[in-house]
Symmetry: D2
Subunit: 368 residues, 4 copies
């Protein structure tokens, strides 16, 4: 019941504060015999890395991941994989003035209330810097899943500006600093975010993440549901305030007829005529793409002073100087991918445990 671990069989424990000497994670339960290198982790870490454009924090971190255990001659051994990422660009003085005050909308207050003591430097454990460890773990999870499962995320809304889903092109997400799948939204977001940034303000966002190639049968009723695990995994990401699967909140408005994803028999098994379910029914994967979205609130670190109190109970006004993401949702896209990868790797192992793996196919005989 570790607070800083997630996953049941593919189990990730992260540690570290924003301005401590390092952060990292331990991945336990990884199957043996999988080729893995630090370069595999680096590719994903680089996508999340700060400093990549003027729209994200200017902190400069190489985010170079070292693997300290669990590998032998380039292959996983089945023992725990310890990953360490040094913190290089701490500037704790930036935070000196908020060490005693509670930024409205930030975890400053709740950490104080709970623990009495907290590391205020850069938000300590509550900093989004922790998500680098998730991305490292997610890269390992992808290796467990193999190439048949493709996981990718896109930002679909920044502030009030939504993409045009008709123009969705996954390839575009690599061509702009926003992970936008819609080329047309890019100038809109640039203009909007430049305003936000210049005003010392911040804005929220929505990220969509999907996994293609997930076979039917992963997940489990009733509290080990695949979608319940996804909901917890995404909601645990900093600043996330909402999670939905498939049609999500929109499903509330649908009729049963509209919501039902009709099925036909295809050459390789069942085929669906729609995917309102987002690839999950009864907590178990259907064989369609698993689709989830998460909403992120605006960063609480803003230049405009807000009314608050401090550890002494004094009423104060707080404005955040220092370096921050004006829209933390942007860099959350690779984090969402990582969390979905970890949940799926875990679901894969759990399914294999209980059933031996594979799925029953209509008209077939036993498991595929």
């Amino acid at each position: 019941m570790s607070f800083n671990s997630f996953g049941r069989l593919f189990r990730v424990t992260t540690w570290g504060e924003s301005h401590g000497p390092a952060i990292g994670c331990v991945v336990d339960g990884c199957p043996p015999g999988i080729a893995l290198s630090e370069a595999d982790l680096q590719a994903d870490l680089d996508r999340r890395k700060p400093g990549g454009s003027r729209f994200v924090t200017q902190r400069r971190e190489p985010d170079a991941a070292k693997i300290l255990s669990g590998l032998y001659e380039g292959v996983t051994t089945g023992t725990p994989i310890s990953v360490l990422i040094e913190n290089v660009d701490q500037r704790s003085k930036d935070y000196g003035d908020i060490a005693r005050g509670f930024r409205p909308g930030h975890a400053d207050w709740t950490y104080f209330a709970k623990y009495g003591v907290r590391d205020p430097r850069g938000g300590g454990r509550s900093s989004a810097r922790e998500t680098a460890s998730r991305v490292a773990a997610g890269a390992i999870a992808r290796k467990v899943l193999g190439e048949a499962v493709v996981i990718r995320a896109a930002v679909v809304q920044i502030g009030p500006h939504r993409i045009n889903r008709a123009r969705w092109d996954w390839a575009e997400t690599a061509n702009n600093p926003f992970f936008a799948p819609d080329r047309g939204i890019v100038p809109v977001w640039e203009g909007f975010l430049d305003e936000v940034r210049k005003a010392g303000s911040s804005t929220g966002a929505v990220v969509e993440v999907e996994a293609q190639g997930v076979p039917a049968g992963w997940g489990a009723p009733v509290y080990g549901k695949l979608d319940a695990d996804i909901a917890a995994a995404l909601m645990s990401i900093n600043a996330v305030k909402g999670v939905e699967i498939g049609a999500g909140f929109g499903a509330a408005e649908l009729s049963g007829e509209a919501n039902a994803d009709e099925m036909r028999m295809g050459a390789d098994g069942p085929e669906f005529l729609s995917n309102h379910a987002g690839g999950v029914l009864g907590g178990i994967s259907t064989g369609q793409a698993v689709v989830a979205r998460m909403a992120l609130k605006p960063t609480s670190s803003i230049l405009t002073p807000r009314r608050s109190i401090d550890v002494d109970g004094q009423e104060v006004e707080i404005a955040t100087k220092g370096r921050h993401d004006p829209c933390v949702g942007i860099r959350a896209a690779p984090v969402a991918e990582a969390m979905l990868a970890c949940v799926l790797a875990d679901a894969f192992l759990q399914h294999r445990a209980q059933t031996g793996g594979g799925a029953f196919r209509p008209g077939g005989e036993g498991r595929s």
Copy 2:
């Protein structure tokens, strides 16, 4: 890592199928010395019970809960509390014609794919009947939390029809068959649901649940976050496709200034000028009301035939006769309360474990 358990310290395991002899739950980790009776469970069970109006399933179940262990002379002993609820009104013939086909939008297909074998009678384990066990457990959780914590839920949207939040009155939820907090919406929903019911169709809904009286400090970073646990707990309820905390998806559109819940110092500690956070920051309770919403899809059991396949891979058309909720979201309100109660009871115990309980107060000395 039990699939059919949830909670870390206040741990609930449920079992049972819709048309088996009984359903039930085992609640482990309950503190000793709490007065508890079967009547305490019954009050909540009666609110969830089928057959209460023409807008819910006509199955007649007394849902009489028996407590088989963990009590001595009316008081909890700290040992596991086993609750048993007999199934009385099974009509398995109603389901005979769908034993081999997969209802679109239902768990029929995924249970088959995963297990090969399933209990098709009434949906078996995937039936909403399982939620009676949750409500029984939730009633015990309320006792653990005590009267200072008040948990209640309301239906805020049915199909496309939303309540007017300006007319919110908690007292109204007991005066209509919809748990509606807005008297004005009742005739609208009546008319809408009568149409849905007569058409043999179904519709989705949104339920809002809140807990007042939760002290600051419950929950834990980073994967044991209070909101992550709430997200998983609500997403595990049948038909739920989306979960949000506080401002939720709306937070994506807010500026940092608008989203920040400013703080002032009150007589009893910090006071907040708004609650976009929904009572949770950094995964830890703020001391404000904890507010969550969940979206439920329309019931998949509808009279209009839909295209599907069966266990033999044959293409078929499926319509569901039998008894069903046209809007499963209605009876989900007490279930949402129960799940939130269980999550909070668990968070209370976890907080007490790590810290001894209580919270630091600004300007105070040590824990309250």
Copy 3:
């Protein structure tokens, strides 16, 4: 982290007090598609049942197990299996006089100290009656393991009287009321136990349990070791005070040369020239028989008055009337089998999760 559950993937939760209406268990994580009936459980329950000879408690319980969920048409569905065993022969008056006093060597005192409230009737939750639930779960575990794995236990010592291991014959365990594998010890134990019983005294015992047919590769370093799990499982049985694997405490006296189990290559894989390891090395099964022993203390319920105190802090003398096992170790043999079966079923599922199952064979290519 449920107190009343054990196992990671094959997960058993038990509930119930000695003199409550019933006891039972919920088995979660059982693979689907396994033929199972109440009769399968009954066979093992009958071996543990009280009242079988004059050497065990005279309480009369049919121990008839009902399966309430998780089965459909005689086959497991992968959903939780709920087992209920009614208590029939409660005589709570027998315990009236000890409701306030603490029997020396009994859990009376510790339950009071921990909980303040306890069910004193028949020892409540601390009664050996709880082990019937373990035996029911163990019977399900045996089905998961299949016929290739044979688990059996024998009593090897009662009080100071040990069997002659040279005369070991498993078949004999069914021919006497002591589960003795050595026919020669039976009259010795009869005489000894008749004396103990007539004196209103009690005695300890040692039980040996082994599993044949366990393939190499089950278990996991470093805290999920197969032998660590066995140690916890056996130590959790009432009255057990010691557990050993293979050579056990005797290994402390051995030289490295004597202790090493040399290996040769057999037709079906490695063969060992001895089994000091008890079938486990580095926490992982070797392919040899898994062998464990557990020591049980004498029952604390004795007729001779012992000095103690009561809930009011008064000094008292306590003697136990009522019905009791003079040697609780006898009926512990089927319980040890059940616990080993559960641990192995769990290890099997865990191994399959991480590796896909099977084992590498020297000179082979990949997993068998």
Copy 4:
């Protein structure tokens, strides 16, 4: 259900191989506000450190522990504590000749069978080097428990030579290289171990560990028993083959009268006239000293060639050169202390979670 973690609330995850770049652990769930420094860890690590006498391995490791997270200004913050210990004195060539063969009595074979791939350098993950991480975690656990709980271990048997318990003096354990509490046994063990060492052989040992100052009420029925947790924790230590609590295997020979620890009322609560229970009844602490023993087998690395096979299935003879402990039991004393400390810290937090802490006292009113 992490394989490389233990503890429920005070949760320790270790990682690292004998000859990798480093080993370490992450301690999650530690209460906030506890003064802690690297020096606190070092004191215990130095007691376990190799190279301290001619009777232990000559590998030279400073075992300098670095704390990378979870501390702020010398105080725990409640977030995970990451400890890193670099490996300095690897000599992997020593192991080159056994990379393909399986040492009899060693985990070589079982790791190969399970994983197919393994790190053979120094035993990889199965090396006793991993226990340094346990000792670091145990030092943190001691801080959680505070000074009122005193945990210490002694070696009570090496090979066939047992201490004279009548001469027990805890102070002596610091005066000899064996952690012997009996000054008289020291020359005997010196002579015996010199012979063993010169012969290139090895020998087993028994370690006794106790905790004084543990209040009544820690632990929980039925599978979260304090003694079951201790059994698993000790059995998980390398080379341990047996565990006992209190009278242990000796209890099997006792009568109920002899085994019962009679109670009288003392000034500070119940007093016991003996401690056959080893401080645990019904899985819950009694308030007496918690006493456990563990038996360790002889090291499997010996100079005398033993018959075995290799990864190709070839029959070979294996002798271990390199550096090894002739009696791994010696350095296991601080490891046993560490494991008991971790189990007790965990039990303390669990007890506080469920009950709020404290214990009922006979004649008292409510919890102390």
